[in-house]
């Protein structure tokens, strides 16, 4: 394992320190190592619903990179690939509350769900009204009442963007939660890994992949995927991902879409655009139109090589919220 890090235990703290120093116009850190969170430089916006997300670190720019105007109010980074504990979530929730309540955007992992659940209860004790929306867009995982259900992956960015815009325009907590839920219902993702990643404190790759194998349906925590198949061309891999996503979402002719091709951290941009090219072509073959696109590293797995394809079905309102101004470290337009 070679990484640009110092003490493996200090990775998150040092990285957040660098992050808030580099983006001091946008964000501040709580500074408290026991209750570490990142929030908007200006503090809570009075009267606005606060948006808080978080989860294990290692997925940067998620979530701290999306704190700012039109998106999150606070982000809580756990240890690498480990959900944060309730305490910092509570602290972030209190900090994000502008009096209109706080929406927790939680990716569907047992750990995230349980820790945010406890935090929500504790925050209510501090007189903050909390509603939670669970993001579960990963079609690689079978959705079933008898399992942990689908994971939340790159679709989370679109939930955060669009719910953030709803909060910014003044929607109340219930309405923001409803928008977030609507985005989650209309977004699907699936990913592939060409290589594993190495968690700093583990010091070994999260799984072993032969030189001619890839993992289809990979999660964002270095957890193994749905199946291991022989390496294939970008077009073939993309077709596999896109087909699973579009079938599950039942993409139909006339649908207006956002297409997000997300890098897992170690993939060159040029390869993401090759994936994008094919994904878009396949969507257009279905008669759908790609109205907006994002291509880049948004929800990563450390230095993993690979990509995920996310499709969101738009309606007029979602599109206008998507287009609304956003100014964060990792996403910026209109502001």
């Amino acid at each position: 394992m070679k990484k640009l890090i110092n003490d493996p235990q200090a990775v998150v703290a040092e990285s957040v320190e660098g992050f808030v120093a580099a983006h001091a116009d946008l964000v501040v850190s709580s500074g408290d190592e026991e209750k570490l969170f990142v929030s908007r430089a200006g503090g809570a916006v009075s009267g606005k619903v606060g948006l808080v997300s978080g989860g294990g670190s290692g997925h940067e720019p998620l979530h701290a990179g999306f704190v700012g105007l039109g998106m999150l109010d606070a982000a809580v980074p756990g240890a690498v690939f480990t959900s944060p504990t309730p305490d910092p979530i509570v602290a972030a929730t209190v900090a994000a509350d502008g009096g209109a309540g706080v929406l927790h955007i939680v990716k569907n992992y047992t750990g995230d769900v349980l820790n945010f659940e406890t935090a929500a209860e504790l925050a209510e004790l501090e007189d903050v009204t909390v509603t939670s929306v669970i993001v579960d867009d990963d079609v690689a995982v079978q959705d079933s009442l008898y399992t942990a259900g689908r994971r939340g992956v790159a679709g989370t960015v679109l939930v955060e963007k669009i719910a953030g815009a709803a909060a910014e325009r003044g929607d109340d907590l219930e309405a923001v939660a409803a928008i977030a839920t609507r985005v989650n219902e209309n977004v699907r993702s699936m990913g592939v890994a060409l290589t594993a990643c190495t968690v700093p404190h583990a010091g070994k790759p999260s799984f072993d992949l032969a030189e001619d194998e890839i993992e289809i349906g990979i999660g964002i925590h270095g957890e193994p995927g749905r199946e291991r198949i022989p390496a294939a061309s970008a077009d073939e891999i993309t077709e596999r991902l896109l087909t699973a996503v579009a079938d599950d979402l039942q993409v139909a002719s006339g649908d207006r879409l956002v297409l997000l091709v997300n890098g897992m951290g170690g993939t060159p941009a040029s390869e993401l655009y090759i994936v994008y090219r094919q994904a878009r072509a396949l969507l257009e073959q279905r008669g759908a139109s790609v109205e907006r696109s994002l291509v880049g590293n948004y929800v990563t797995s450390l230095e993993m090589q690979g990509a995920s394809v996310t499709v969101l079905r738009l309606d007029d309102e979602l599109l206008s919220l998507y287009d609304a101004p956003v100014h964060t470290a990792a996403l910026r337009w209109g502001a």
């Binding site: 026991e34 294990g56 756990g78 240890a79 690498v80 690939f81 480990t82 959900s83 944060p84 504990t85 309730p86 305490d87 992992y109 047992t110 750990g111 349980l114 820790n115 659940e117 406890t118 690689a140 995982v141 079978q142 008898y146 399992t147 942990a148 994971r151 968690v199 404190h201 583990a202 070994k204 999260s206 799984f207 999660g219 925590h221 270095g222 957890e223 193994p224 995927g225 749905r226 199946e227």
Partner: protein, 212 residues
């Protein structure tokens, strides 16, 4: 044969020890069917617990277990943090001043109840429930048979280890391993194994207490 606060403190110390020693083994189990952090999480948690314990007076078993609960909840994170946190919290409430075999069974059942309440896993879902379940049953059996508290802990530890081993052929239906479906077969659940290690630490502390 009964267990008191000294045992509880010794258990925590032994737990911190065993988590440190098995850190990499648990990471490796979790790498296979999860995300490779379980050993790190538990080690971080019990290191913190040990620190807290050394600077805290405790009068009852319940005090000790409550301290463990709070500290794990606020330092472990992930799935294991809230689950173990709730387990120890419920256990702390169930614990009397000293534990005979029935008391041990009560404590373990309370812990199990907390885990199930939070995680909603059934037996054979390939989680830590598959260690806590057999453990509490074994303790209850010892109580019914008139054994001692120490014997109950010993039986619980053995049952937990057997339960952890028995997760190997199972298909995971809860937690991160469930994403793997059939590919989770053949691997031991890391949380079940950490449970077995913790109960083994409990038994070792009990045996030490007998001798000392």
């Amino acid at each position: 044969g009964s267990l008191g606060v000294a045992w509880a403190r010794a258990w925590v110390e032994a737990s911190a020890d065993v988590m440190r020693q098995n850190r990499m083994a648990l990471i490796d189990l979790d790498r296979a069917i999860g995300d490779g952090d379980h050993g790190e999480n538990m080690d971080r948690g019990f290191t913190a617990v040990l620190g807290k314990l050394q600077s805290t007076e405790t009068e009852t078993i319940g005090d000790v277990l409550a301290l463990v609960a709070k500290t794990l909840m606020s330092t472990v994170g992930g799935a294991a943090g809230p689950l173990y946190g709730t387990a120890y919290l419920r256990a702390s409430k169930a614990a009397g001043t000293t534990l005979d075999a029935a008391g041990v069974a009560d404590v373990l059942e309370a812990a199990l109840g907390g885990i199930v309440a939070r995680g909603k896993a059934d037996r054979e879902d390939k989680t830590m429930v598959d260690a806590w379940g057999p453990a509490s049953e074994a303790a209850r059996d010892v109580a019914r048979a008139g054994g001692s508290g120490v014997e109950a802990v010993q039986a619980a530890a053995e049952a937990a280890q057997a339960g952890a081993v028995a997760t190997e052929p199972l298909t995971a239906r809860k937690g991160r391993a469930s994403y793997l479906g059939a590919r989770s077969v053949g691997h031991r659940d890391p949380g079940a194994q950490s449970t077995a290690l913790l109960l083994d630490a409990a038994a070792a502390a009990a045996r030490e207490g007998e001798r000392g």
